[in-house]
Symmetry: C2
Subunit: 202 residues, 2 copies
């Protein structure tokens, strides 16, 4: 697998924006990481905002691909949502060091009053819509949107506090609570279905 210089820039910028923040990340940082000169930058991207746009586009694409993978790998909607929750565990180290890539970028761009703010929030939108779809598939047709936002918010809160306190146990406890919450939704739903089925019989 070989990448063009432009792709390399986007990938390195993505990582550096995540680790240092957009504002604190400089052209020099990215150039050094890619292994090119600062001057060469202008050929690929006119401004720093152009790089940010490309990074967000890249993140939108990789997020979509990840969600598609989850959907492909597990036929059950519960397992798919579990994949989302499990992300907090598999990315635990980087989350404790730098927070959630999406949440922290959105926060920073909001403070900078940056034009790309909306596009960054669209990454959240992908998760939101995907989760919404999974909950709808679980039979939660009426409140799928609320459940999706709720899960998204819980994850964000866990990431923020994990980053602030650097507490591994906290993440494990909260993830367990999140899985229990999901299970309780399924249980409630099947209880309801059973009742409805019973009503149909009478």
């Amino acid at each position: 697998m070989t990448f063009s210089t432009r792709e390399l820039i986007v990938r390195e910028a993505d990582q550096i924006f995540y680790e240092k923040g957009f504002e604190a990340a400089s052209f020099s940082d990215i150039a050094a990481a890619v292994g090119i000169s600062r001057g060469n930058f202008y050929y690929h991207f006119k401004t720093k905002d152009d790089i940010l746009d490309a990074v967000i586009t890249h993140r939108l694409a990789t997020t979509r691909a990840m969600l598609d993978d989850w959907a492909r790998q597990s036929p059950s909607a519960v397992d798919r949502i579990m994949s989302f929750i499990q992300m907090l565990i598999s990315n635990q180290t980087t989350i404790m060091a730098f927070g959630c890539p999406v949440g922290t970028l959105c926060s920073e761009l909001a403070k900078l009053d940056h034009a790309a703010r909306t596009r960054a929030a669209a990454i959240f939108g992908l998760f939101r819509e995907w989760l919404e779809e999974q909950f709808r598939e679980l039979g939660q047709t009426g409140n799928a949107s609320e459940l999706a936002l709720h899960l998204l918010a819980r994850s964000q809160g866990i990431a923020t506090l994990a980053n602030a306190f650097r507490d591994e146990d906290f993440v494990c406890t909260e993830v367990a609570a999140l899985k229990a919450w999901l299970q309780s939704i399924i249980d409630d739903s099947s209880d309801k279905n059973r009742k409805e089925r019973k009503n149909e019989c009478t």
Copy 2:
């Protein structure tokens, strides 16, 4: 009420750090807000980090004072925790614009690998310990710490998504869910107490 120049600087810096972020906030910004010259700054604070330290100290003090007020105004632990939750409503506008002051500062300092990172997280620590105390007073002696962290995390998640999506309804829905969650804890606890009392009678 009159403030010294030093106090004015801290207050304005506090606000500007919140709205623009620590890195993006410049001496010029703060000086303009206070109404003093840039040069005069050095007399009160040697470095930008010194200002940050003073701002964090100020936030620690105001947070402590606010928590004390809540404790003083409502004798019941439930109402005190409700005061905390209600904060999401009363600060809704600024949260949607700039996120949570504590969470966003911690995230930024973590990315900057700043020395003041720990001290900023200590503001979270104040809320954590205070909430822990309230839950303990509610009879949740065994899991007061988990409950406190859980509530803190939920609030952070709500703030982050409220900022990203700028959705008022979402905040209201989640705050209602949070209050219901608190109520369910009380109900469970009183159920348990009733059972225990019944057992004592038999």
